[in-house]
């Protein structure tokens, strides 16, 4: 059961990495606009068929 000490510590640091990731995302402004990217992804890069 002593392996738990290691596992808990590992899980704690992994969670900490996610927290830092969130901080980074926030700092680089990724939460500023949560709507536009959902539209942007639907637009084509290539020209559409011309009529």
């Amino acid at each position: 059961m002593n392996i738990l000490f290691l596992l808990v510590a590992l899980s704690f640091f992994m969670a900490l990495l996610f927290l830092l990731g969130f901080f980074w995302a926030h700092k680089t402004g990724q939460h500023k606009d949560l709507y536009t990217p959902s539209l942007r992804i639907l637009l084509e890069d290539e020209p559409l068929e011309n009529d």
């Binding site: 059961m1 738990l4 000490f5 808990v8 704690f12 969670a15 900490l16 996610f18 927290l19 969130f22 901080f23 926030h26 700092k27 939460h31 500023k32 606009d33 709507y35 536009t36 539209l39 942007r40 639907l42 637009l43 084509e44 020209p47 559409l48 011309n50």
Partner: protein, 786 residues
């Protein structure tokens, strides 16, 4: 036949290009520009993606003035500049696509990024090869004219980062981990597993440190301020709870006396911060703080002895000579030097009628010139002018509404003292028998009675109330406003623009014409974009358009043309050169055919839908009408307002302000509903101000709430709904008291187990959150707002 660009009905067949029809030259030009730049895909994503370009030409000459450019740019270095524009036309994916492809039209635009909800585009451009003016003109040319206002330059400062999100993230991280580490404790650890018990305990304590000293620190700071000012608010018992939870966990874990309350502590702070977060409702680009500056032009053309050059409004001095062009607003009280002044004081008085001024006459700020350019000499500075001096009143300098006390603020005042009283009694009761039990019971009382549910009930109720209201076109300034609205007991209405609509005009009087003549007038009106021409054209319906020759439109005056050999003139009285003017409160358009005067069209603003519903409000609220107009409509309005006691005409902005003040001296809680700049004093003075607007992008004076014109009929529902919401908060308080009593009954015996606290706290929070959202939804249904 519909315009390929904007989808409006094409009246004329003149604008054809590549087999496509356009309603106006503007739309056709946009199409051509996009085609030339291989941006035709714009039309593939949506049908009719454009907005009508059928509008007067715009001038951006002021964007060449260095001081104005500086105030608009976000950032500038040697090679590029950054700027963000607010573009109200952004509405579909085609807009997004096109605005992010500006680089294809002009390679000097290095980068452009759209924020769809804020209707904002951020642009990086090479200012050495492309001036700001050219950039704005390019945007205007493709149909996306940015809205540039003076207040934009002021608003930039509050774009700071939001530490609340980070505090929530930290609290959530700690809360999750602590819960995980506490589970073994809940299920019970064997004595052989003592090592785990200590390990988890220390880890929990470690995780509590950021909770207390980072996420929850604001509670300590604000309660310290409250102690200093001797007015204890809800933050004080919360901070006390956090402190006691932390100290007791610390002592229990370090001295190995128990497992501590880390789970309760982290949950408490996490939920409290969530409550704070939902309270911050921000509407993008709806501003409640607008004053005259956001409605006045950003610059004015100053005559410097040789030529006119644009200067920022703030640099305008008494004695300056300025030029005001058609459709521009006069920024300061001035004397007319030369030119034909036809001033529309619609924004100031609410009444749209043109006033003619002779040279040498004084013209008040806020009027809009229609017709040719005029030259003026400034006699008062911008901030000291007749209209703008309203803002110099003390009223506008201090936030009077800060004095409003919400229900939870009133309650928590007593709550704190009752809580401290109970805790001390419990301590004294046990102190003679067992001092350690006394301390344990004392702290348990402070923990369990921590008013978490009370603190959460207001933000959660109000934020869902705001969501329901904004779905109905009623935008409140903040969550506190709902409670303020519920307190109101007297209603005061403005007339023009509030009870009447600016966009729906009906024709009251029309000249007696043969059907052939009607067809001529209709064909003539089809060519003009003036709203009144459009109204006449609509009135006659679609006729077979006649061939028109020698068409001429003189801005602000009228239109004339030859149709089938007859000369037709339609316009203002001075355009027709009418000698005797029949005075009338109606806006008039006069008609002359072949030199004979044929009469006039009289327009009246229509009343909004739901006007009669005001009668039902009268049962519960005294209502008053304050109008800037004369009393032409008294007979009609007397079906709602009693002529002498409830209706007042010829009210200046100052009169309105004073009227509200008098009502307040009779200790009434006044709700003012107005629209224009002329109501802004009264709106600010009233306990609650609602400004009504037909277009949310238009100017609205500073107020507590903004109401869309077509939701005016729901006013009584909104008032009832706000009262329902306050009731919901009262019930929540009752619920949280029940939890507190259950908790207290355990706490005073000193037997509060950490597990019990850890269950009770989130349970009460969840009850409150679900009760408030269900309650407000039910109230919304009951009031037919959902």
């Amino acid at each position: 036949m519909y315009c390929f660009h904007c989808g409006e009905k094409c009246i004329l067949e003149d604008y054809e290009f590549e087999d496509k029809n356009f309603c106006c030259l503007g739309c056709k030009t946009v199409y051509q520009i996009l085609k030339d730049n291989n941006l035709g895909n714009y039309y593939h994503y949506n049908e009719f993606p454009g907005t009508s370009q059928n509008k007067p030409e715009l001038r951006f000459h002021y964007l060449e003035e260095a001081s104005i450019i500086r105030s608009l740019l976000d950032f500038q270095n040697d090679s590029y500049s950054l700027i963000s524009f607010y573009i109200p036309q952004i509405h579909c994916s085609s807009c997004l696509w096109l605005l992010e492809k500006l680089n294809q039209i002009n390679p000097n635009i290095l980068y452009s990024r759209v924020d769809f909800l804020k209707k904002q585009v951020n642009i990086r451009f090479d200012h050495n090869s492309l001036s700001l003016r050219d950039l704005v003109e390019l945007l205007a040319k493709i149909g996306y004219e940015p809205k540039i206002q003076l207040q934009d330059s002021l608003r930039k400062e509050d774009r700071g980062k939001d530490p609340l999100i980070l505090k929530i993230a930290v609290a959530g991280f700690c809360f999750g981990n602590i819960m995980l580490l506490s589970f073994p404790e809940y299920f019970g650890l064997k004595s052989t597993e003592k090592a785990f018990h200590n390990f988890f305990g220390y880890l929990n304590l470690l995780l509590c440190l950021p909770i207390v000293f980072y996420s929850g620190w604001d509670y300590f700071r604000s309660s310290w301020n409250q102690v200093k000012t001797k007015s204890l608010q809800i933050d004080f018992p919360l901070a006390l709870g956090i402190l006691v939870l932390f100290l007791r966990s610390f002592i229990e874990i370090i001295w190995d006396k128990g497992s501590g309350f880390s789970d309760t502590l982290s949950g408490l702070v996490f939920f409290l911060l969530i409550g704070k977060f939902v309270q911050q409702k921000t509407y993008h680009h709806i501003s409640f703080e607008r004053d005259y500056r956001s409605f006045f032009p950003i610059s004015v053309a100053l005559f410097d002895g040789i030529k006119y050059k644009p200067i920022p409004l703030s640099a305008l001095k008494i004695g300056d000579r300025i030029l005001i062009r058609n459709q521009e607003i006069i920024p300061a009280d001035s004397i007319l030097i030369q030119g034909e002044a036809q001033i529309d004081f619609g924004f100031v008085t609410g009444e749209t009628s043109l006033q003619e001024k002779k040279s040498g006459e004084l013209i008040y700020a806020g009027g809009k010139q229609t017709g040719g350019a005029i030259e003026l000499e400034v006699v008062k500075s911008v901030s000291q002018s007749y209209l703008t001096q309203l803002w110099n009143q003390d009223l506008f300098k201090k936030e009077s509404h800060d004095l409003f006390r919400t229900f939870s603020a009133k309650i928590s005042q007593y709550f704190t003292w009752v809580l401290l009283g109970i805790a001390c009694l419990v301590f004294l009761f046990w102190a003679f028998q067992d001092i350690s039990l006394a301390i344990s019971a004392f702290t348990a009382v402070l923990i369990v009675a921590c008013p978490c549910a009370l603190a959460l009930s207001t933000p959660f109720t109000m934020s869902s109330a705001l969501r329901i209201l904004d779905r109905n076109g009623f935008y409140l300034k903040n969550t506190q406003s709902v409670e303020q609205l519920a307190e109101v007991n007297t209603l005061v209405f403005d007339k023009t623009g509030t009870l009447t609509s600016e966009i729906h005009k009906s024709i009251q009087i029309e000249p007696d014409l043969s059907s052939e003549e009607k067809n001529w007038v209709s064909s003539l009106c089809a060519n003009s974009i003036h709203p009144l021409s459009r109204r006449i054209w609509n009135h006659y319906g679609q006729h077979k358009p006649e061939k028109i020759v020698a068409y001429k439109e003189i801005e602000g005056l009228g239109v004339k043309a030859q149709i089938q050999g007859h000369s037709i003139k339609l316009g203002s009285s001075s355009f027709i050169e009418l000698s005797d003017k029949t005075p009338s409160y109606l806006s008039q358009v006069h008609l002359e055919i072949d030199g004979y005067y044929r009469g006039f069209y009289g327009f009246k603003n229509e009343y909004r839908e739901g006007l009669q519903a005001l009668n039902s409000l009268k049962k519960d609220y005294p209502i008053y009408l304050l109008s800037g107009d004369r009393d032409h409509e008294l007979p009609f309005l007397s079906s709602i307002f009693k002529p002498d006691r409830e209706m007042y005409f010829d009210q200046s902005p100052m009169d309105k302000l004073a009227f509200i003040g008098n009502l307040q001296e009779e200790s009434k809680q006044v709700l003012m509903i107005g629209d224009g700049l002329n109501d802004s004093g009264a709106l600010k003075k009233a306990d609650f101000g609602i400004s009504v607007t037909d277009n949310i992008d238009n100017f609205t004076p500073g107020s507590d709430a903004i109401l869309e014109g077509n939701s005016f009929k729901k006013l009584s529902q909104f008032l009832l709904f706000s009262k329902d919401c306050v009731h919901i908060i009262h019930y929540c308080f009752g619920l949280s008291l029940i939890y507190n009593i259950i908790g207290l009954s355990m706490a005073i015996t000193g037997k509060l187990s950490p597990l019990m606290a850890a269950i009770l706290m989130p349970l009460s929070t969840l009850t409150i959150i679900s009760f408030t959202s269900l309650g407000t939804t039910y109230a919304g249904f009951k009031r037919k707002l959902l």
